[in-house]
């Protein structure tokens, strides 16, 4: 089974440090829209988390006409920025709302688990993030 990021929204304080870290790791900048995990507030109810569930038979992978999606060593699916054409086929193909577009760069964005390193975990002091399968 491929490891995936689990968001326990009951513990989430909606600080979005995970999002800031994710965009820094993958794009070298801070930009919430460039994060592979998104926390969507829904006050006064709990937030909703958007993140790839690293499904066993990913529909995004074959949908990409540019071969910009690749399987990493840890088994997660990653976006190769240099190949992504921004066609949104992966977004249309994913039934789980696990991939989306960054409006600035026009690139697809999703959680690739940092190839199993999960950079976001270190900054989630609320303990809302964990690794699951």
């Amino acid at each position: 089974m491929v490891q995936r990021l689990i968001v326990t929204v009951e513990k989430c304080t909606e600080c979005r440090a995970c999002e800031l870290t994710c965009s820094l790791e993958h794009f070298g900048v801070f930009n919430l829209r460039k994060s592979g995990v998104r926390i969507v507030s829904n006050w006064p109810d709990l937030a909703r988390a958007r993140v790839c569930i690293q499904c066993e038979d990913p529909e995004c992978l074959p949908a990409c006409p540019a071969e910009a999606l690749v399987v990493t060593k840890s088994g997660s699916i990653a976006v190769l920025h240099e190949l992504c054409t921004g066609c949104e086929s992966c977004v249309d193909a994913c039934p789980y709302d696990g991939v989306w577009m960054d409006p600035l760069s026009g690139l697809a964005v999703k959680c690739d688990t940092c190839d199993g390193q999960f950079a976001c975990l270190a900054v989630c002091t609320a303990g809302a993030l964990s690794i699951g399968e």
Binding site: C15, L24, V29, F30, R33, P44, T125
Partner: protein, 609 residues
Amino acid sequence: MFECYGKKLLRIDLSTRSVSEEPLREPFIQRWVGGMGFGVKLFTNEVPATAGPLGPDNKIYISVGPLTGTLAPLFAQTCIVTKSPLTGGIINTYAGGHLGGSIKATGYDVIAIEGQADSLVYVLISPAGVRIVDCPELAGVSVRTAEEAVQKAAKTEGMHTLGIGLAGENCVRYASVISETRAFGRGGVGAVFGSKNLKVIGIAGIGDVGVADPEEFRAAVSAAYTAFAEDLAQPWSLLGSFGRVGTGSGMGLINEKHALATKHHHMTHFEQAEQIGGQAIAEQYPTRPIACLGCQVHCGMLHKPVKTKWGEVWTRGPEYESTYSLGSLCLNDDPEMLLKANDQAEEYGMDTLSLGVSIAFAMECADRGILPRDAVGDGYVLEFGNPDTTIRLIDMIANRQGLGETLADGVRRASQRIGGGSEEFALQVKGMEFAAWMPERMRGIAVTFATSNRGACHKRAPIGMELMEVIPMDSVEGRAELVAGIQNHVNAIFALVACRFAEFVLPVQQFVDLLNAATGMAYTEEQFLQLGEVIWNLERLYNLEAGIDGGEDRLPDICFEVPEDFPPEAKPLTREDFATLLSDYYAVRGWDDEGRPTPERLAALGLHD
């Protein structure tokens, strides 16, 4: 260098409904850094001291700083600088949440708003451009309703808003601007929005925020994370308790120390304080902690809707300061009344501090026979400890009805109108109502309230040190120097823009490390603190020009009376002590006997003409 800035100012002229962009040049950025620095410099350059706060010549500067929108913890705040309709002087005010990150992502470091729209409008700032939209349908609606309407109309994902309610539209002089339950609370900036017919600004940025030296920045952020983690892990951590039950966590301690302003400062201790403290409210009502962008402290307490005798209320908070002003100061011990009052203040958009003090002032006037007990009307009795009267008065103030019309202008103007000697006990400095602390008990508070450029503000005071008795509360020794240092320090971190709580944990050098790594500048600790002093003096010069002179560095007479339950071992504030504090303060600041910065000091600060 300067990768963490957009290096642009957006100027919106509501009179002509025109929009323009201006570059922020590197020497300007280098000198003024961001946030409060940008706001104060631009404001004092562009707004004449003669401008009426509610007239077309006043301008609003909404600014973010070099660390906004980054992973640096506790830098989520946005700064607003304008002319205050309460004090007539310059005001800087802050709100956290997620607005700052959204502004930063637009690429604008400053949004300047000027002129006056001829009818009610909202403004949208998004990748599609800037739009000024007429919104007569939003007249009089609550902040929340207006924010939701603008979000819906904008159809832009990830938009954050700031706006006003009825109080701002009615130019209540302490109307606040609310951003998704976070408040630009003090000084009446909501009334300035109202005077410009500006209901809401919706902001959706999609841009990147970079830093000059990513590796150094990661190291500086990591050090800051560690510092906060170590503090928060301690059982005594004040911020840790804020994260568990909110800023009201300290009420028990403050009460125990006889430092809780109660019954309009006649008392220092409130028998029922525990009922309205953060602990009780967090335990009694389903509550979860909510954080500002990138913050580990998560002091915002979000409640599920609560059914009260005044109807269902939904709120975040109340913050400590509100439980003082609308709670102990008015002798209100009902937590549901506080939830309701907090909700009203948020929906109407009013500063809970000035609001509570204004209501307590009316109660005090009734106790002294200066106002009749039936001054509220409709059978409401004007008396301390009456929650229904408090709730009623909040409605009347926002609507400027009856007694509310007088109280909507703040206690200084209200006391001038009501007379009967009420000016002597009106809890205000320079027109701004007292924050939650007692000059009668704490000398640091006495000098801070008297000298703050904002009026009776607690933001730059040694509260923790005095409360924890690291230094004696009632000693004047070295107190003025300590306060001046804190004023400089806090001003400097407000240029970044940091949350005030960051200063509880991070040493100055860590702020400087974050600043330098993000910007590529080479600030030293000394230069950074001097930035704070420069801003402080610039504000002071502006206020002097606006007619707020050293004569207004004073406390009302009531502060020199001894509260009924004053602890026998403590020393009351005397006029001699206060005179010493003030002359020490002027000396430390390099100001003359009348509180005017000397030419020598201004030259040293680079502020000479």
